[in-house]
Amino acid sequence: MVEGNFTTVSGTGEGSSPHSLAARIALFGSAIAKPANVLFTMVVTILGLTAITFIIGRVMPADPVLAIVGDRASQDVYEAMYLKLGLDKPLLQQYWIYLTNVVQGDFGKSIMTTRPVLDDIITYFPATLELASVATFIGIFLGIPMGVAAAVHQGRLIDHIVRVIGLFGYSVPIFWLGMVALLIFYAKLGWLPGPGRIEVYYDGIVDPVTGFILIDSAMQGEWEIFQNAFSHLVLPAAMLATYALAYIARMTRSFMLDQLSQEYIITARVKGLTETAVIWRHAFRNVLIQLITIIGLTYASLLEGSVLTETIFAWPGIGQYITKSLFNADMNAVIGGTVVVGIGFVGINMFSDVLYRMVDPRARR
């Protein structure tokens, strides 16, 4: 984790590339092999994901037929639906049919919304992505300075404050926090609007081009709607951000403390560098590399873990969609949603991997 840090002090060591021909060829080869590897990993991951989700869905005691026809359906209505869903076929054949459809871009229909799962995902996923992105953004821009400040002033008041905030954000149930925040900022103070993604009167005015209300309204010049959507986003994003912020601040603090105790920091100070340069240019650059992974993981976990926030804030996102589908044994929807979140997870990991390589020269070797 800390080896090779002296190179950064000189300011010339970083980014230095290997000079031998063999090394150059190897680097070139790995540059090509990497995307292929990544693609392979991704395909295997997604395939595994669909297989496991599919099997879990089929062996669950919940009955997808009853989810559609209701518990009072007569036997002939029940059987007609049973056959229509293809549940009479062997499990493996069902999975094969499903997979061949998916490859052709057909995720099947959700039994709860009766729409193609892909349409549902296009509707619900942007809402979650919007929420998780803003929350991660808040987490990064508040969490990192807090973590750095706490490490630099270790044991002082600011450190205690950051640690308490970190503990709070990490351990307080978001369900409770969300309700309290609504009570204070919406019900009592009236600073922010209540649950929902947008005021109902604005519904249907903006064409859902991207599905992100903020982007769509901005693109179409509907600034009133943009403002309304933004104000609706503040509370749920802030709630979700408490977790991101706490985690990022805690990790930043711990990484930073680790770096600040290194000898290259002492060297830097001996060289007479300003404290800002020591902290941000030397110590933080090393922390950043580790933080990228942390931020990637946080972002991915917010994508899948926002069910409670979505429920409290009546946010029509993918978390609510998957949860409800699961309770109703709506397996097409569950698998579709899981695959999308899975792709998001893998994608974010890949992206942080790329960033990691960009920031850390050692990772390129």
């Binding site: 005691p61 919940a62 009955d63 009853l66 989810a67 559609i68 026809v69 209701g70 518990d71 009072r72 359906a73 007569s74 036997q75 002939d76 209505v77 029940y78 039994i111 709860m112 919304t113 009766t114 729409r115 549902d120 509707t123 619900y124 821009f141 300075p145 309700m179 609504l182 009570l183 919406y186 019900a187 009236g190 600073w191 922010l192 609007p193 209540g194 649950p195 929902g196 109902v200 009167y201 519904d203 249907g204 403002q227 933004f230 104000s231 503040v234 300003t274 404290e275 800002t276 429920t311 409290i312 804030f313 009546a314 029509p316 609510q320 969609y321 409800k324 309770f327 109703n328 044994a329």
Partner: protein
Amino acid sequence: MRLKQLALLAGFAFVAAQAGPAVGPVQAGTPDDTLIMAKNIDDIIVLDPAEVFEFTGGEVIANIYDRVMMFEAEDLTTLVGGAAESYTISDDGKTITLKLRPNQVFHSGNKMTAADMAFSLRRVIKLNKTPAFIFTQFGWNADNVDGLVTAPDDETVVLKLNSDLSPALALNALSAGVGAVIDMKLVMSHEVDGDLGYEWLKTHSAGSGPYSLKTYKANEIVILEANPNYRHGEPAMKRIILRHVPEAAAQRLLIEKGDVDMARDLTPDLIKGLEGNVDVVIANDPKAALIYMAANQAHPILGNPKVNEAIRYIVDYEGMVNSFLAGQFKIHQAFWPSGLWASYDETPFSLDLDKARALLAEAGYPGGGFKIRIDTLTKSPYPEIAQSVQQSLSKIGVESQITLAEGKTLWPMYRARKHELIVAQWSPDYVDPHSNADAFAHNPDNRLEASLTGKVAWRTSFFNPEINAMTEAGASEADPAKRLAIYLKLQKRMQEIGPFTIMFQKSEQTALRNNVKGYVSGANFDLVFYRTITK
């Protein structure tokens, strides 16, 4: 260095400050001509009247479509003509001739004719979705329905009953959601592969009722728009908005703040919290939903009539309605709910452990000594009820284990007759006592392969020829006075020998802003009226 830190801090402060003013003061209150309700609407699957079988969906289509016969907000107890103005019944009780109300127009502008009505009724049979059984008991099926439902001219529809069903019952059944009259021209213009417009009508509307469907987004919102040409006059609320708010506590905040006009799913503790708030009033409406306990008659011990009787005395009816069920349920012990025609309101059972012990001893189980499983739903109040029953059982020496499950897991087991004791809920499918009698009392074929899974009597293996005959007599009797007598007797008899311990009847509590007037919520889920609401 210090300066840079300050600049950085100032930067963050600036960003934070931007978030504040950009939001601005939030406007409270809803527009005068729009009614917004916070409701959990995730039970909606489709909005096609031939298939809707869920509470929210049933309520929504009730406000979009006029049915052949209806119970109107102005008098919830009297069946009147809806899209049909009048009817005549032939002497043999086998033919119902309906006359359409003149000059009815669909939302599309199409004129309603007898052909629309006949098409709507036949379509229910041909699509054969879950609620089709309401009409198949008329003796209709896909092969004969075209001949039994006819429209000889533009104003007349003739229905021929091909079974022993009482015409009075048939008329009641025509007030169910499946009795909705749909716009044939519009629906058929969206037909794909002979589906009778099924795919399209799932998420669109083609009615003539007080409202039309403007927007439906699953798990998000339903927006209805007033029909200016409605036969009772244009509704005062030009728009009805059902906002999906799954969390009850969030619903409470919204109603307190005045951002919604109604909150539909508040729990007893939240309702209690609203006491003293002058801006919010609570409406209490008795509903037809019953909570009951069913004992599987195929179980070696529970099948004993004396054990069944004992179970009826181990329920702490009073204790529960006065504690965790307060305000939301009242005691009711017969299968047809109170407040509806032919209800039987006697409550002969109360918690009496000595009597229960004596009955168990008579059954051959002195001091209990056996073990049973209680299955029920995970959501409140079912676990609490099961726990209360469990406590009482333990006091008479019966050990019990509670298993909680989601509906989609519980119902398959119940339908497969694998339960022992189950705590569940039942609401009528249409406003006629036969709806529940057919479910609770009628089991013409108790064999497993008969698969009469829609009937809870079959599910619990309850088979009694005397009760079957009585149920059939009630269904075929034409004289209302005689029907009434049959149903009262049947309910009393079921209390004595049935496998069911019917415990509670729901009372719905709705929070309304105090300026909302005229909200009518009848006993059945499809008797909720939006058109009478004013602000």
